[in-house]
């Protein structure tokens, strides 16, 4: 069986844990519970007749005091870079984390997720910024872990990208 490691990267409180929990356990919690260290979950998925075990490394969110260690990315076949659409500064964090991840994973595939589409009224990341990233070659998906909007699609898409990469 194929086994692939996916690392979740992003600023704190962007919804990394919520996305994993939605994908793995089909649950969502309104309460923000910060991730300390790393939480590893796994899920078996079937992509184009391939059974793939995804090892999901849900890392603590980065902030001014806690920087993500690059060693956590070792062995990752791909990563999900997550930002919170209602907090524009989480986009900057994602961009800087991607630089680090690109080096450590040697250009492993990734998808940039802008989460929390359910909070449309508070949205801060504008369309131009998203278009700019898409033009630079980033695969961008707008999701909502709360409303289960495009969450599975994000993981499936990344898994396909990782399988094509081998």
């Amino acid at each position: 069986m194929i086994k692939k490691k996916i690392t979740m990267l992003g600023a704190f409180a962007v919804g990394k844990t919520s996305l994993v929990q939605r994908f793995v356990n089909s649950i969502f919690s309104e309460k923000y519970q910060t991730t300390i260290g790393v939480k590893i979950d796994q899920k078996l998925v079937k992509i184009d007749d391939h059974l793939v075990t995804l090892m999901l490394w849900d890392l603590y969110g980065e902030d001014d005091f806690l920087k993500v260690k690059s060693s956590y990315l070792m062995g990752s076949s791909g990563y999900l870079l997550v930002a919170d659409g209602t907090r524009a500064k989480t986009l900057e964090v994602a961009i800087s984390l991607q630089k680090m991840a690109r080096e450590v994973t040697q250009n492993a595939p990734f998808i940039f997720i802008i989460n929390k589409t359910d909070l449309n009224d508070l949205w801060e990341i504008d369309t131009e910024a998203i278009d700019k990233l898409r033009k630079s070659g980033w695969e961008v998906l707008l999701t909502s872990a709360k409303e289960n909007f495009r969450v599975e699609e994000a993981f499936d898409k990344l898994t396909k990208m990782m399988l094509q990469q081998k």
Binding site: A13, I36, V38, S71, T86, E124
Partner: protein
């Protein structure tokens, strides 16, 4: 037995020890005896050391440097201290006896129990499996060696050789809480399968494990979930000790739980601040919208108000009409005109206020002719001052020079003097004084009016006031006048203060800077 020992290096062997050996030590093969001083330094030894150790003992060596499994056991807690079935390496089980003699020496007696343990193992294993439903391996009893006993302190301990991990001792209680597979000591564990986090940590640990010296390295934190749903944070230590490699896993202490709580709170606070900033931005947008709305409406209302005033003035000036009206009707017409003037004044102030709030003005600082300002203000208020028989005093030193926006400053002084007129009783005095002395350049508006208490002074410039005080002749205010004054003075980077006491009048002082 005495004879055998006397042929070895232990000499003299004192009687109580000989007696102990004779009475308590069964005649197993492989008897090995070590004697230490009170500090635990090796003095003498006897027996086949090569059965248990790679090297020969050295006199003066610390006993647990030579035999790490004795760490913390010399001096013993009780005498004699007896530990059975202690696995000291991959294949050998021993029984250990530790004694103390009257001279302060310690005696460590080691017996080979490998065969006995081998026989006992399957029997005991079956016995415990049936009792504990296979949760624990009972042969891993309490004292395999110091590291193996660490499960009592909540550690999981693994011996690492090449790429294989073998568990030492028992599993601590927390391990069964997280519902992982049952582990046995005699089988290699796929540790990365068990705790995938260790795959990454192994890279860091390898540096310590492959080193020439003893050392340890601490991993980051990872999270496991108990069957109750509760979170459990774990951390690993990679240890190299005496050319052997170990991996220890321990749940984080309460202190760490506290620090994670701290991180949680700090992040929650930052999220709240982010949300507040968004709310503030929205609020500012709403306030700007309100000010724009007020500005447009008050501007558009000026024309119809002016028209009504003009028409009323025409009616009052028309003799053919006024001669036909009685005194009461004429007074009513006069009241309409006066109220319309008041309404127009209020509307003008609203217009100015909203524009000042929006920042829709630009200060044009030019040299000001202060005498013009005095004349303008006097002209505006003279009729009312005459009505109340108020004396108006002015002062302007010949050398007085200042820069500012003449129109806006005129409006500010107009509001201040208007305010003074309102609160000064008949026969009082109002002064508009331009000063330039040691205390700096300033303008003062002084009155002999009713004055205010400190609380009123403190709230005076805080924008719109819902409740305004009535003047001495029942004059009503808009509640905007002093707010407008403050905006204008601030825009000039001047400073305005007020001194007042109930019944003792007020002084408004504009301190002029940079002119």
């Amino acid at each position: 037995m005495t004879e055998i020992i006397n042929k070895g290096r232990i000499n003299p062997l004192i009687d109580p020890v000989i007696e102990y050996v004779l009475n308590n030590i069964p005649p197993y093969m492989g008897l090995f005896v070590m004697q230490t001083d009170a500090e635990g330094l090796l003095k003498n030894w006897f027996g086949p050391w090569e059965k248990y150790f790679k090297n020969s003992p050295v006199a003066g060596q610390i006993i647990d440097d030579y035999a790490p499994f004795l760490f913390g056991m010399v001096p013993p807690l009780v005498v004699p201290m007896v530990l059975s079935h202690v696995q000291i390496n991959d294949k050998t089980y021993v029984e250990i006896h530790i004694l103390a003699d009257e001279d302060g020496s310690f005696w460590v007696i080691i017996l080979d129990q490998t065969r006995q343990t081998g026989l006992m193992h399957p029997i005991v294993q079956r016995f415990y499996n049936s009792r504990l439903k296979g949760k624990k391996d009972p042969t891993d009893s309490s004292a395999k060696n110091t590291l193996a006993a660490l499960y009592l302190l909540d550690f999981m301990t693994f011996n690492k050789s090449k790429n294989a991990y073998k568990m030492m001792g028992n599993t601590p209680d927390w391990y069964s809480d997280i519902g992982k597979v049952h582990l046995r000591n005699d089988k290699a564990v796929d540790l990365k399968e068990l705790f995938p986090y260790l795959e990454v940590f192994e890279y860091e640990a390898e540096e310590t494990w492959s080193g020439d010296q003893d050392g340890k390295v601490l991993s980051g934190i990872w999270e496991e979930t108990k069957s109750t749903g509760e979170k459990l944070y774990l951390q690993a230590y990679a240890i190299r000790y005496d050319r052997r490699n170990y991996l220890l896993i321990k749940p984080l202490s309460q202190q760490s739980a506290l620090s994670s709580e701290f991180v949680q709170k700090a992040r929650e606070q930052e999220l709240t601040l982010d949300r507040l900033a968004v709310t503030k931005k929205k609020l500012k947008q709403l306030l700007d919208f309100k000010d724009q709305f007020v500005s447009i409406i008050s501007h558009d209302l000026r024309s119809p108000m002016g028209a009504v005033i003009g028409l009323t003035e025409l009616l009052l000036a028309d003799n053919s009409l006024t001669t036909k009206l009685d005194a009461g009707q004429l007074e009513l017409l006069g009241d309409i005109r006066d109220e319309m003037y008041r309404l127009l004044d209020y509307n003008d102030k609203l217009y100015h206020w909203s524009n000042l709030e929006l920042g829709n003005f630009r200060i044009v600082k030019k040299p000001i002719d202060a005498s013009k300002l005095i004349s303008y203000v006097k002209k505006m208020h003279l009729p009312k001052m005459n009505d109340k028989n108020i004396r108006f005093e002015t002062a302007l030193p010949a050398s007085f020079r200042m820069q500012g926006d003449e129109t806006l400053l005129g409006q500010a002084l107009n509001n201040l003097v208007g305010n003074a007129v309102k609160f000064t009783p008949e026969g009082g005095t109002i002064s508009l004084l331009f000063k330039d002395d040691k205390q700096g350049k300033r303008i003062e508006v002084k009155d002999t009016g009713m004055g205010m208490d400190q609380e009123s002074c403190d709230k005076l410039f805080n924008g719109f006031k819902r409740h305004t005080s009535m003047g001495t002749k029942g004059e009503r205010g808009t509640g905007l006048g002093l707010g407008i004054v403050k905006k204008i003075i601030d825009a000039h980077n001047f400073n305005i203060t007020v001194e007042s006491q109930p019944g003792a009048g007020s002084v408004f002082r504009i301190q002029i800077t940079g002119s």
